[in-house]
């Protein structure tokens, strides 16, 4: 499991078996319920135990804004940090031509259907700043253009509080070319 090495796994197993058998039972039930009960939201592909996730079924969200992200963890990150009030679409990955991951694997037909129905005015592309994320962003921007939806991509560059001297060359050059006019 990610983040749990052999030593940690062993400590957890001994702890549960020696000191907290009830906890182990509860954990196994929670995991079993999660595996059986959690699927994907029919609208945005976020993980949820219902047909539509909490965000898609909430009133007061702005359905004109749609933010495309790579993973459910990215939805949580944007929700926690930005105060964004639009909706999401979770791709569950990024385009990776060398691994055979194309538009169908990323649910693009479902996303295109949402862009086509005319309700969305802006598609905010929040894929990761990797080459694969860039390829995905280009494709999403093309798709948005095809349905006359404005596409924007989140900015990337120097971290807040960072010092240029210590920022790696790739990030700095990206930030430099993505500079914008100061109002």
């Amino acid at each position: 499991m990610p983040g749990v090495g052999r030593k940690s796994a062993q400590r957890i197993a001994f702890h549960l078996l020696e000191r907290d058998r009830n906890g182990a039972d509860e954990l196994s039930r929670a995991l079993s319920d999660a595996v059986k009960g959690i699927g994907h939201c029919v609208h945005c592909r976020m993980l949820t135990e219902y047909d539509a996730c909490n965000i898609c079924s909430a009133s007061g969200r702005d359905s004109k804004l749609l933010c495309a992200v790579e993973s459910p963890a990215d939805v949580m990150a944007v929700e926690d940090a930005t105060g964004y009030k639009g909706l999401y679409f979770v791709l569950m990955g990024h385009l990776s031509p060398l691994d055979g991951i194309g538009p169908d694997e990323l649910g693009m037909p479902a996303l295109e259907a949402r862009l086509r129905d005319g309700n969305v005015e802006e598609l905010i592309i929040a894929t990761n700043p990797t080459v694969e994320g860039d390829a995905t962003a280009h494709y999403l921007a093309d798709l948005a253009g095809k349905h006359e939806v404005q596409a924007s991509r989140i900015a990337h560059g120097v971290p807040l509080g960072g010092e240029l001297e210590y920022v790696d060359g790739g990030t700095l050059s990206h930030a430099f070319f993505g500079r914008r006019v100061v109002d």
């Binding site: 031509p97 060398l98 691994d99 194309g102 080459v131 280009h138 093309d142 060359g169 990206h174």
Partner: protein, 249 residues
């Protein structure tokens, strides 16, 4: 086996995949040591300074230590300015990488292929035709691998190609006279001669080169389908990008 230490070697990252929690395994094309795999320890961790550097389609200088087949990356820097591929150029560059991953042997130095790849990425970064750049690279790659296309003589008689005649291109031999004008690899002599000149400003020559190279490369891949080709086809079907010609069919 003694460890070999390599410092500041010009290289390109062809592919990468996650390894354990915070590391990656890199498939790299280096100038003097050919294609090889390196573990980049910690390169996916939150604090790693390598994340902005270890990107495909970025000229790099890599350092590593290797004992056996898999090396360990010890340093990475950008080698020159950044290259920013977009749209079709970016997607086609993935195809180049898959081609190299499938056709190059590991630890077989190919500095000329390294240079040809470098030149093609630079070309894709410019305003040139993507399809032309790809066809030239494919022809150069085949030549450097020792599988050069025969586009100047009839392999049965040894005579020069007759522009008015019909030939069937047999991958393992070259052009042989044909009677039937239909078939996936049937060309006129004039068409083959035009492909040999690599003057792809004529759209029909570009189409012929694409048809010929697609079959020849498929033959050298022993029928293995390239994943990037499949994905690119799906992408081109879905996106609104204007069809600028047969980049990859």
């Amino acid at each position: 086996m003694t460890a070999r230490r390599v410092q500041n070697q010009p290289a390109w990252l062809l592919h990468h995949r996650p390894f354990r929690d915070t590391s990656r395994i890199l498939d790299v094309l280096s100038r003097d040591y050919g294609r090889l795999s390196l573990v980049a320890r910690g390169s996916r961790s939150a604090k790693s300074k390598l994340k902005g550097v270890l990107r495909p389609f970025m000229p790099l200088q890599l350092s590593w230590v290797i004992r056996g087949d898999l090396g360990t990356l010890t340093g990475a820097e950008m080698d020159g300015g950044p290259i920013s591929l977009n749209g079709d150029s970016l997607l086609s560059a993935f195809y180049l990488n898959e081609l190299l991953l499938n056709l190059l042997h590991r630890h077989d130095p190919q500095p000329e292929i390294f240079s040809a790849y470098h030149a093609t990425i630079i070309e894709l970064n410019g305003q040139h035709s993507v399809a032309t750049a790809l066809r030239r690279f494919e022809m150069e790659l085949l030549r450097l691998l020792g599988y050069a296309l025969n586009l100047d003589h009839d392999t049965e008689s040894g005579d020069e190609l007759d522009p008015g005649r019909i030939y069937e291109y047999r991958v393992e031999r070259g052009p042989v006279p044909a009677n039937n004008p239909d078939g996936p690899l049937v060309f006129t002599g004039a068409e083959l001669i035009a492909v040999a000149r690599e003057d792809f400003s004529d759209a029909s020559t570009l189409r012929d080169a694409n048809r010929l190279l697609r079959h020849v490369i498929a033959w050298h891949l022993n029928g293995k389908e390239l994943k990037s080709r499949k994905v690119l086809k799906e992408l081109r079907r879905g996106a609104a990008t204007a069809d600028t010609g047969p980049v990859i069919q």
